[in-house]
């Protein structure tokens, strides 16, 4: 169990795996599982424009 860094909503691990991106059920911010054991999530990085390509 951890919490959303944006709104504090409790987040259960369930079947989430490391690297998985999912929305917070309350505030909708996209979260990324940064560690499965111990279970940790962080705000998922936003896609950025790549002007070099």
């Amino acid at each position: 169990m951890t919490e959303c860094p944006e709104c504090g909503r409790a987040i259960e691990k369930k079947n989430l795996i490391e690297g998985e991106i999912f929305p917070c059920p309350d505030c909708g911010v996209e979260l990324e599982v940064t560690s499965a054991e111990p279970f940790r999530v962080d705000a998922a990085p936003h896609e950025e424009e790549d002007w070099g390509e």
């Binding site: 504090g8 917070c24 309350d26 505030c27 909708g28 911010v29």
Partner: protein, 323 residues
């Protein structure tokens, strides 16, 4: 439980009937209306046609019941309340007649002297999120005002948590036409409202008194008529005493409404629909045939709490829907 409604031909009466006719623990025994006496309920509320065989009865033929709803215009129940209270074990008055605890405020906001100030302390302000237990034990419950309910639910948790300056809260409310009731007057006519955004009470709106009483703040309330039938959007501006994080605000609202069945806290991090929207259903359900004949989108709003007449929604950024 045997229930009766006095003044059931208006919008509040119609909305009440829509809910009560399907309530598993309620038998709607009688609905009174002098102007519609003898006519089927569906004559006033077409969405209820074939939902009940009841007809309106005159006020004078009201029988005793377990629970009596008063759905009359403001000022009608004041004089008669002592006698009305003898007719039922419990009375829920949807008008403003017993909402305020301070009798002097009726002179300020309703331009009348309250004839039974001794009953004001016995009346419970009927917002279950604030007074659920008191409502259970009360013999007289006063239904909250639509805009007031929206604002109170949004502001009170912040005030109680000590996060905001309670001496200055600014509330900007937009409301649909049903809030004016079935006899809303010329200003409620379609020709007068269609395509219009109108400030109809930029200051001194009557609901200011309720908001201040129940939210515990000094409020400046401005009300606007917008082109909608149902729904209220109240944007509440409060001033912080100390800096807080967004997470702090979520915590405060979760503590206040996390277990409440009629309130949802709405604030999305992305997408088109980030904040509460009265016009949106919000729960993904298809519209039900009995959900009202006024307003093409049905009576549900987001945040949602059914407030007869206003069916209003509320809340600012973090607000909760008073459903």
């Amino acid at each position: 439980m045997k229930v009766a409604i006095v003044g059931g031909s208006g919008y509040t009466g119609g909305e009440l009937l829509r809910l009560l006719l399907r309530h598993p623990k309620v038998e709607v025994a009688q609905v009174t209306s002098d102007s519609m006496a003898g006519k089927p309920l569906g004559r006033a509320h077409p969405n209820l046609r074939r939902a009940t065989d009841l007809t309106f009865t005159p006020h004078a033929e009201l029988d005793p019941c377990d629970l009596l709803f008063l759905a009359m215009p403001h000022g009608r129940a004041m004089e008669r309340m002592p006698e009305i209270l003898t007719r039922a074990g419990k009375v829920i008055d949807l008008s403003a007649d017993f909402r305020l605890r301070d009798a002097a405020l009726y002179r300020t906001y309703y331009n009348l002297d309250h004839p039974h100030p001794e009953l004001l302390s016995k009346s419970v302000y009927g917002l279950p999120e604030l007074h659920r237990e008191e409502i259970r034990g009360a013999t007289l419950v006063s239904g909250p005002g639509c805009i007031a309910a929206a604002a109170i639910l949004a502001v009170r948790p912040l005030a109680e948590a000590g996060l905001i300056d309670t001496e200055r809260v600014v509330i900007d409310a937009k409301t649909g036409s049903s809030a004016g009731g079935a006899d809303g007057g010329p200003a409620s006519a379609h020709a007068e409202r269609s395509g219009v955004i109108r400030a109809y009470a930029p200051a001194n709106h009557r609901h200011t008194a309720e908001i201040e009483q129940e939210a515990g703040v000094k409020a400046a309330l401005s009300c606007h008529a917008v082109e909608a039938v149902r729904g209220i959007l109240a944007t509440c501006h409060a001033f912080l005493r100390e800096p807080v994080t967004e997470k702090d605000l979520w915590r405060v609202y979760r503590e206040a409404y996390g277990a409440e069945p009629f309130v949802r806290i709405v604030k999305e991090a992305s997408g088109l629909y980030r904040y509460p929207e009265p016009k949106r259903r919000g729960d993904g359900r298809p519209r039900q045939p009995d959900e009202g004949g006024r307003g093409e989108r049905g009576p549900v709003h987001e945040p949602r709490r059914r407030v007869p007449g206003g069916d209003g929604a509320r809340v600012p950024r973090f607000a909760s829907d008073l459903r």
